[in-house]
């Protein structure tokens, strides 16, 4: 029999443990500095691999050095986990997070409506002026709630060697020419296009591009603000997509292929020469480099030499703007309760110096004027040129419409690509989802 005192001590210890376990759930460090103007900034981003993780750490250290009394706790998390779980949960607590990854548009609107985001319009007027139209996704109802550090457009990443093998000498600039290229590749026994339809969005991006080419910018903007898709051009986009799928350009089993995981993913297939093309955003070289590093075990493995890039081709006779491009980027926002130093850090990240170095590490396409020479990757230079030439840049539809409508749309597009849906069903699915908002 235990001595009574020992028993009660055990009870107390167990209770303390239980309370501790529960307390551990309300994570997030508090923002109370130790007086004397000491401030701690908590900064969350979505980089989980080098070089970007180290780069953000450097930026945080530089900011601390320039601002005595400010310490920055910088932490990277997996993208989806961060976007769907960590940030919403932390924002709901109303503390413990200052600067955080911001995908913009639909995502941002929901957060602003809930009162979680700091309006930085007055503090970043210079930056907004310098960046131009690229800031739009981080603005809502005329106010600015964040700044991008990375923005690019989507296009076809292609394998120059396989194009040569198939006798393709000119890059496709029209849809007809793209069909010809697909036929030529097939005749040469090469799988024309890899697509990671298992993840949904990569297949949906084809519909985005067709919608971009068949709908005028005015219609696109109106549908985005009203969340209504009555214009027949959206059904037309589905018809074009059905026709495209009927040409059978994709690899076998594409419905189960992931976009970015390992050699079997669509990015992996392009990197290893299994497919000739992949429609993907400007992050693709980084993704391919990461996959090759995993596969070969070489830390220095980089995207293959044979890579090239061309914009999604125009479509003859379509109502859309032939020079319009589809794109997106990454940015940061400050939470509504963040200290003023948060805005200083946001502006520092946007500075030409930091942006130039961001381009140098090859992690993306910097947005601040004057940082262009940092971009070493010739393909990313191409992306930047495409972005500059585009008369109209449409943000990824799923980001623009927000997760509820965007998710329903992506799912409906995959249904059509998989042969189980009609062009009208996509519009219907979006309309139904918008009705539940």
């Amino acid at each position: 029999m235990m001595n009574t005192n020992i028993r009660w001590a055990a009870v107390a210890a167990a209770s303390a443990l239980a309370v501790g376990v529960l307390a551990g759930c309300s994570g997030g460090s508090s923002n109370e500095g130790g007086g004397d103007g000491e401030v701690t900034l908590v900064w969350w981003h979505n980089a989980t691999g080098e070089p970007l993780t180290g780069f953000w750490q450097d930026v945080a250290a530089e900011f601390e050095a320039d601002n005595p009394g400010v310490s920055v706790e910088v932490q990277g998390y997996q993208n989806e986990e961060l976007q769907r779980t960590l940030i919403p949960n932390q924002l709901r607590t109303g503390e413990g997070l200052d600067l955080y990854q911001q995908w913009g548009a639909g995502e941002l609107a929901g957060q602003v409506d809930a009162g979680y985001v700091m309006d930085v319009s007055d503090q970043v007027t210079q930056e907004v002026e310098a960046l131009g139209g690229v800031v739009a996704p981080w603005q809502y109802e005329g106010q600015t709630y964040g700044l991008p550090y990375n923005f690019g457009i989507e296009g076809f990443w292609y394998n120059k060697e396989l194009f040569d093998q198939a006798g393709i000498t000119e890059l496709p600039t029209t849809l007809e020419e793209l069909y010809d290229a697909i036929d030529a590749l097939k005749d040469a026994g090469i799988t024309p296009i890899g697509v990671g339809a298992g993840d949904g969005w990569p297949a949906a991006h084809y519909w985005y591009n067709f919608a971009l080419k068949s709908c005028s910018p005015e219609v696109l903007q109106q549908s985005q603000s009203e969340l209504a898709w009555d214009d027949p051009c959206f059904v037309e986009a589905g018809e074009m997509l059905a026709e495209f799928v009927a040409a059978e350009p994709f690899q076998d089993g594409f419905l189960a292929t992931s976009a970015q995981q390992g050699a079997g993913s669509s990015a992996g297939m392009l990197a290893t020469g299994e497919v000739a093309m992949e429609l993907m955003g400007h992050w693709n070289p980084g993704v391919m480099g990461g996959i090759l590093q995993e596969e070969t075990g070489e830390e220095e493995a980089s995207p293959p030499e044979f890579l090239g890039w061309f914009n999604f081709p125009g479509i003859e006779g379509a109502a859309g703007d032939p020079t319009a491009a589809l794109g997106g980027g990454d940015g940061f926002s400050c939470s509504a309760w963040a200290p003023p130093e948060c805005v200083d850090l946001l502006r520092y990240i946007s500075s030409a110096d930091v942006q130039t170095r961001f381009g140098e590490i090859g992690a993306g396409v910097p947005v601040t004027p004057g940082s262009e020479e940092g971009i070493g990757d010739p393909n990313l230079q191409e992306v930047l040129a495409g972005l500059r030439e585009a008369s109209y840049v449409q943000l990824w539809f799923d980001t623009a419409y927000g997760p509820t409508v965007g998710g329903a749309m992506n799912d409906a597009v995959v249904q059509l690509v998989g042969g189980q849906g009609a062009p009208e069903d996509i519009v219907q699915a979006m309309t139904d989802a918008a009705a539940t908002l």
């Binding site: 167990a14 769907r84 419905l255 997760p403 539940t436 908002l437």
Partner: protein, 326 residues
Amino acid sequence: MTAPNLTAGRATPARPDPDPAPARVRRSRRSLRDLALVWGFAAPALVVYIGFVIVPVALAAVFSFFNWNGLGPLERFIGFENYVRAFSDPVFLGALRNNVVILVLSLAIQGPLAIGIALLLNRKLRGRTLIRTLIFVPYVLSEVVAGLAFRLMLPPEGPVDGVLTSLGWSGPKPQWLADPDIAFWTLFAVLTWKYLGLAIILMLAGLQGIPEELHEAAALDGASWWQTQRRITIPLLGPTVRIWAFLSMIGSLQLFDMVWILTGGGPLNATQTMATYMVDIGNGRSQIGFGSAVAVILFLISLVIALIYQRAVLRRDMVGAVTGRG
């Protein structure tokens, strides 16, 4: 349910109680202290259980009556609209159907298979330990590891197709994970591979509990091996089979990890289960209210089936343990 306190000193007979209720033995200070100690030891576990189980379940039930995207306050009460929406959503109904099919097929296929294999293994044979280990290994593997392994083995012209080719299968092979008509059966095969081991081990444990004398008696009476199995072994395995079926049913209803890793619910929602759909909707599409409604439906279905099963089937095996007496 407290057992009579046998350690307490004899209570002194008190004056007849004015109310007609049966006289209570007044608790001594000592037993009060004991009670406090019991609660003291139970409290931490209770706190954790309430914090991690009861509160989230209750919160999900609350959220399910709101149209809520997870941001801002709970404001838009919409009654049972989320529930109506779930039962008119073809994807959810498909997911529910998948759960039911997996539940029924698991019982119908894994049960007899497991009993058969257990009977075969329940005798002296060389390498028995090795065989048992091999059978049990898939169950020990984490779902994520097993799911990833199969994902890597099953793409077109992957290792599995390579084995089939070397076995002389020429021509196109089924797209194991990419064809909506086949992916569900691929998933079911992987689940069977993974959970058959658990069923067999349980059955073997049940077989160990059958007294050898019964077999000897049957042998003396001239029963054949088959008769012995049918008339003695299998009936006496009853409790084990019933418990295994219970675990299997609950597992089938709440199936998540393997699907999430192997197919993500695809292709074209062909392998969606209630749990994967819930995560898809709640997390992926920021519809916390609707996702919570799906969670509550899943919880209620599991609860009802569990209660009915316990009342109707497990009662004999668990008298007093769960169902109370009588």
